[in-house]
Amino acid sequence: MKSVLKKTLFGSVLATSILFLGACGGDGASEDANAGNDPAADYPSGPITVVVPAGAGGDTDLNTRIMAKYLEKELDTNIVVSNVTGSGGATGTQTVLDAKPDGQTVLAFHNSMLLNNVFGLTDYTYDEFKMAGVGVLDQSNTFLTSPDSKFQDIPSLIEYAKANPGEVTMATEIGSMTYIQTLQFQEQTGVEFNIVDIGGAADKIAALLGGRVDIVPTSLGLVSGYIESGDMVPLGVMAEERLEGAPDVPTFKEEGVDIVIDKIFYWGFDPETPDAYVEKFSNAMENVVANEEYQQEIEDSWLSPTFLDQEATNAKLEEINASYQEAYDNSEQ
């Protein structure tokens, strides 16, 4: 019995050490430029660490892991996903900036990094990174309410909120995407919500089911079960056009509120990483997004498999950043 125990103990300790070694392996990579024609021939020189500044199991984590699974085949190397949580993602993004710029450490994150800068929590933003590209868009940002609330669509919400300023309770997480969406909505329609911090997606769902708040902004994909069961009613989606998976849900635009929000999941490197490495990584991402299996996996969670190259990613981020900055400036006035 004792030997069995020892074996399990030893085996698991060994497995753990290998995992940790894998996670650290990037540091030992050689930086020697290859003499051949292809400047990226020696890349990747070992396992690549993807830093996800969000917890395991969330949408950021899941999207990254799906992409990583396919990238492993494209780049023919191991990809280790490392969840570095804390201070709204700032801890994780900093980790990537602190790592060696050898292309073995990459950041996978979304719009929140821009918000951290807009709200003054970090002194750097997207332009501090060399972007490789985007593989997923979440266009299913929505406002949800309960079936017995006084408003069941956007126009009646605006009417009610105008008549009762400060009374409609909006559940957000201060400084997050849902918070800035709320600010944008207030700015556009001239209503005034009672904005409360409730926490992450799960806490918001609990608060709406428990009847403590009137509106919860979140992604449709996270709550499709509650919509099907009739526990929640979607007021609209912040997309350019109605979603294929939810043709009955109108867009905010149709209802006269011009808010279109894409949550983009981008991959970025330290600014000093050689261009050729980032380009090679970017090409690998493009191949993954073209893969039908990948597309299916992403669509299963109500997201859009879309590839944006380096330039398009930067342009998109710039556009999002400008709209966030504007919403923030307006709210400060």
């Binding site: 004792k2 399990t8 753990t16 995992l19 799960a202 609990a206 499709s224 079960g225």
Partner: protein, 499 residues
């Protein structure tokens, strides 16, 4: 329901899935038993492995890890006074003294059987009445959580050892340490002194193992090299009679219900439930002075409640798609990745998977008790390893564990800092548990106070007018008055009620 459960058993009764559950439990036990590695890490590491499996097989492996991870903590808690996980802090209080008295085998018997029965009870509750219980959990908002946290903080009085003032100081110190880093809600960095590393604050794991494990190693490094406990081992007493188990019946039931109740409430979790159950067992005992010196009731209370919290945490996950702790948050991600839609319709739309999960839990619970009983004699042999060999190994594991939390060296520094702090606190007679309790509860207290005030637009009244909140605040007030009274009485030298 029973036909569904039989179908669930049918779907997991394949060799592959049974092996997966067994492997999950074994690996979970290892993770739970090594200070610094937790059930959360075991699930995080294995989650990607399940992606390639079908949903029932994948979730079965994760259930094995969860049950094993929560249970493994009792091994180092009893043998070495090191809580392997936050769920087994209270197990050290009486489990370790029992081992030192040559009753390690007995302590294991009590702990393993309580873990099994506590887990079993909570799984049965989960299977029978998850949906209505989940709806009850929804009634708890910021006002109610604030009141529960206030009540839990008053338990510091019963965990303060000889000196109430020292206990309160330790508790406040814990709350202060929890304030370092980005503040809840507005993420404003506090007490970081310009170090970006401090922005994320201190993680619970380095704090916990620093305070309990490292300090213990430092203390033993002071003493002369001991050859292990060989002499006492030879007359280890394993047997616990049926009569002795029956005597713990009420304690076991109360502790399981506390664990279940706290497990259901999202966000509080097993780290608190074992301490609350311990205090409840102690204050309702006729001989509270025996607690802390090797009273089996303390071991039963802690271990029954932390395993009962597992079923509890799964109640809101299965019935509503709302995770109750860090492990269930990851299980939620696992469900989504396997194409299942968590929420009120999970049971209806994917009943086969849900009942497969229930069956896997019951099987995992059986593997847990089997593995622990089979390994028990081996674990106890650990005590015969000379400390100068055993402790450096544990120290190295603690460092690896602290690093593994977030893959940051900062957490290793924090581990050492809290190790030295714990050492100094022991030297100056300060109790450690109030610090950990303050550290766990401080952020919950602040967050829920601020969220509550946002909901009520600055009005404090809802904290008193919500019936649930009012009830907990009343109990909290009564418990403070009682603590002051008994502390006063103790000083006079009369009967000791609240050590």
């Amino acid at each position: 329901m029973f036909d569904m459960l039989f179908a669930g058993f049918g779907s997991v009764m394949t060799l592959q899935i049974i092996m997966l559950i067994a492997a999950g439990v074994a690996l979970g036990l290892v993770f739970g038993s090594i200070p610094g590695l937790t059930a959360t890490m075991a699930v995080a590491i294995c989650l990607p492995i399940t992606y390639g499996m079908d949903p029932i097989a994948g979730m079965s492996l994760l259930m094995g890890l969860y049950i094993g991870g929560v249970s493994g903590g009792l091994i180092p808690a009893i043998l070495l006074k090191l809580p392997g996980t936050p769920s087994s802090i209270a197990t050290t209080f009486d489990g370790y003294p029992m081992a030192q008295n040559g009753e390690a085998g007995k302590a294991f018997n009590y702990a393993i059987v309580s873990s099994f029965l506590g887990g079993l009870l909570s799984i049965i509750v989960l299977i029978m009445i998850a949906p209505p219980l989940g709806r009850v959990a929804l009634q708890f908002g910021p006002f109610e959580f604030f009141a529960i946290v206030i009540f839990s903080l008053t338990l510091i009085a019963s965990l303060s050892g000889d000196s109430l003032p020292k206990g309160i100081m330790a508790g406040l110190l814990g709350i202060s340490f929890a304030m370092v880093g980005a503040a809840p809600i507005d993420a404003f960095p506090r007490f970081t002194y310009g170090f970006t590393d401090m922005n994320a604050g201190f993680n619970l794991l380095p704090v916990l193992i620093g305070l309990f494990a490292l300090s213990e190693i430092f203390i033993s490094a002071e003493k002369k090299v001991k050859k292990g406990l060989n002499a006492k081992l030879s007359k280890v007493n394993y047997k616990v009679s049926i009569k002795e188990y029956v005597a713990q019946g009420w304690n076991f039931l109360r502790s399981s219900l506390i664990g279940l109740g706290i497990g259901i409430l999202p966000g509080i979790g097993g780290g608190t439930s074992n301490i609350i159950s311990y205090v409840a067992a102690k204050s309702s005992s006729k001989k509270p002075e025996e607690f802390g010196k090797g009273n089996p009731a303390g071991v039963v209370a802690s271990e029954a409640s932390n395993n009962a919290a597992v079923g509890g945490a799964l109640v809101p996950l299965i019935s509503l798609g709302i995770p109750g702790d860090t492990v269930t948050a990851m299980l939620l991600g696992g469900l989504v990745l396997h194409g299942l839609q968590p929420g009120p319709l999970l049971m209806q739309n994917s009943g086969d998977v849900v009942y497969g999960i229930f069956a896997a839990l019951l099987i995992a619970n059986v593997f847990m008790i089997l593995f622990l009983f089979m390994g028990m004699k081996g674990f106890i042999r650990l005590l015969s390893i000379p400390q100068h060999i055993l402790y450096p190994i544990i120290l190295a594991l603690c460092v690896v564990g602290a690093f593994g939390v977030n893959n940051r060296l900062f957490d290793v520094g924090a581990l050492l800092f809290f190790g030295v702090l714990g050492y100094l606190m022991i030297k100056f007679g300060f109790p450690l548990t109030p610090l950990v309790l303050g550290f766990i509860l401080g952020p919950l207290l602040e967050t829920n106070l601020r969220r509550g005030l946002m909901l009520s637009q600055g009005d404090f009244m809802p904290f008193l007018t919500s019936p649930i909140a009012a009830a907990f605040l009343l109990v909290a007030a009564a418990s403070v008055v009682f603590a002051i009274y008994s502390n006063h009485k103790k000083k006079k030298g009369t009967s000791v009620l609240n050590v």
